[in-house]
């Protein structure tokens, strides 16, 4: 299966529904941190331009806040595409974005367990 097909399958997203209004990117709280924005994920996956996305730090800037899912007028659910592309990247051997040994120096005395759980779920396999 090629990457595009795999991403479409595990995300369940149909990028052809997108009308390129840009509302997902306009509402994204991580917009400034991203090199590729949610609407670009949709377009680039649709056109099979996946490699730049797989390499991009943008994968780790999405907050899974569901704002783009809530506010897309066409029910495209861009965050599910971002998640699927990220999974394609981190499911490869040795590609975890955060490793257990990185953690001790990143935490402080108030760090909630919820944060560590979420980070491992999102950034490593």
């Amino acid at each position: 299966m090629d990457k595009r097909e795999e991403i479409l399958l595990i995300s369940g997203v149909d990028p052809k529904k997108c009308m390129r209004c840009g509302k997902c990117s306009a509402t994204c709280p991580s917009y400034d941190e991203m090199e590729y924005h949610p609407h670009q994920f949709v377009y680039m996956v649709e056109t099979g331009n996946i490699e730049p996305l797989l390499e991009s730090k943008s994968l780790y800037k999405c907050l899974s806040c569901f704002a783009c899912i809530e506010r897309c007028p066409r029910d495209v659910e861009p965050a599910k595409l971002v998640e699927a592309v990220r999974l394609c990247a981190i499911r490869q051997k040795g590609a975890n974005h955060i490793k257990a040994e990185d953690v001790p120096e990143l935490v402080d005395e108030d760090t909630p367990q919820q944060l560590l759980m979420s980070v491992f779920r999102k950034y490593s396999k």
Binding site: Y60, A79, Q114, S118, V119
Partner: protein, 259 residues
């Protein structure tokens, strides 16, 4: 009414106040929270990929346990609520996920999404009622201007969470009114705090914190209330100018059960 209660990992460690005050208030308000035996962490984030099953099983186990007791499943942490409710929705709407989860768990009684998931705020609104709650208030929080911070997890996706209008919620503002304080409505109340990015990119989260605090201050807020330990952590850093409390702490204060 007795609920099957899912506390979640953080309420057993860094967010014990969120849990403790909720239990103390439930005793006064007349409902019971019975902790689910051997519950397992929800994972903190809802797994969106359709081929992820293992990461959804702890939610399904808790849901099946509540069903076996014939009770609703009660949550308090926004993240647990979001994950468990979205997984329940998968079980109800995605036959592939439902059958794979059941095949894996081999429950005596297959789980098909029967359990209703309710957040503590919904119990206050729908079971206790804000009118009755107001009557139970002993120390009205007079003069406090409180900004309800919803963040993302309580409300979205709106079609699944169905707690309130995801763009114009009022459940926490109604709670604030019932406690005798004044709610502050401000634009950033349902935008994300930066969530789990705070480990990998704390500068980005500091920008979110400033934006949210500035927005609340501009509309006159003295403090935030939240239901989420991660929102608490992200909003509460040293550079924050608006203090943050769990909503259960203010509830306990108003009901006169806070020592």
């Amino acid at each position: 009414m007795k609920y099957s209660y899912f506390p979640g990992c953080t309420l057993k460690s860094k967010a014990t106040e969120l849990d403790k005050y909720a239990r103390d208030c439930a005793a006064v308000l007349g409902f019971e929270m019975e902790e689910i035996e051997n519950w397992q962490c929800c994972g903190g984030v809802y797994p969106m990929a359709r081929d992820e099953i293992a990461t959804k099983l702890s939610s399904v186990r808790a849901l099946a346990d509540a069903k076996a007791h014939g009770r609703k499943l009660l949550t308090l942490c926004s993240a647990c609520h979001n994950v468990i409710k979205q997984v329940n929705n998968d079980i109800l709407t995605d036959s592939d996920i439902c059958s794979r989860a059941n095949n894996y768990l081999k429950l005596d009684d297959p789980y098909n999404g029967e359990t209703e998931v309710v957040h503590y705020l919904e119990v206050l609104r729908d079971e206790v009622g804000f009118g009755e709650l107001k009557k139970a208030v002993k120390n009205p929080l007079k003069g406090k201007k409180i900004a309800a911070y919803y963040g993302c997890l309580l409300l979205r996706p709106g079609a699944v969470m169905a707690m309130d209008d995801p763009e114009n919620p009022r459940i926490m503002e109604d709670l604030i009114r019932a406690l005798g304080a004044e709610p502050v409505i401000y634009p950033q109340r349902n935008e994300c705090c930066g969530g789990y990015l705070s480990l990998d990119d704390p500068e980005a989260v500091a920008k979110r914190r400033k934006k949210i605090a500035d927005s609340a201050k501009e509309f006159g807020a003295d403090m935030f209330i939240t239901a989420c330990p991660l929102c608490m952590y992200n909003l509460n850093k040293a550079d924050s100018s608006v203090p943050v409390y769990y909503f259960t702490e203010l509830l306990a204060e108003a009901l006169g059960v806070k020592e």
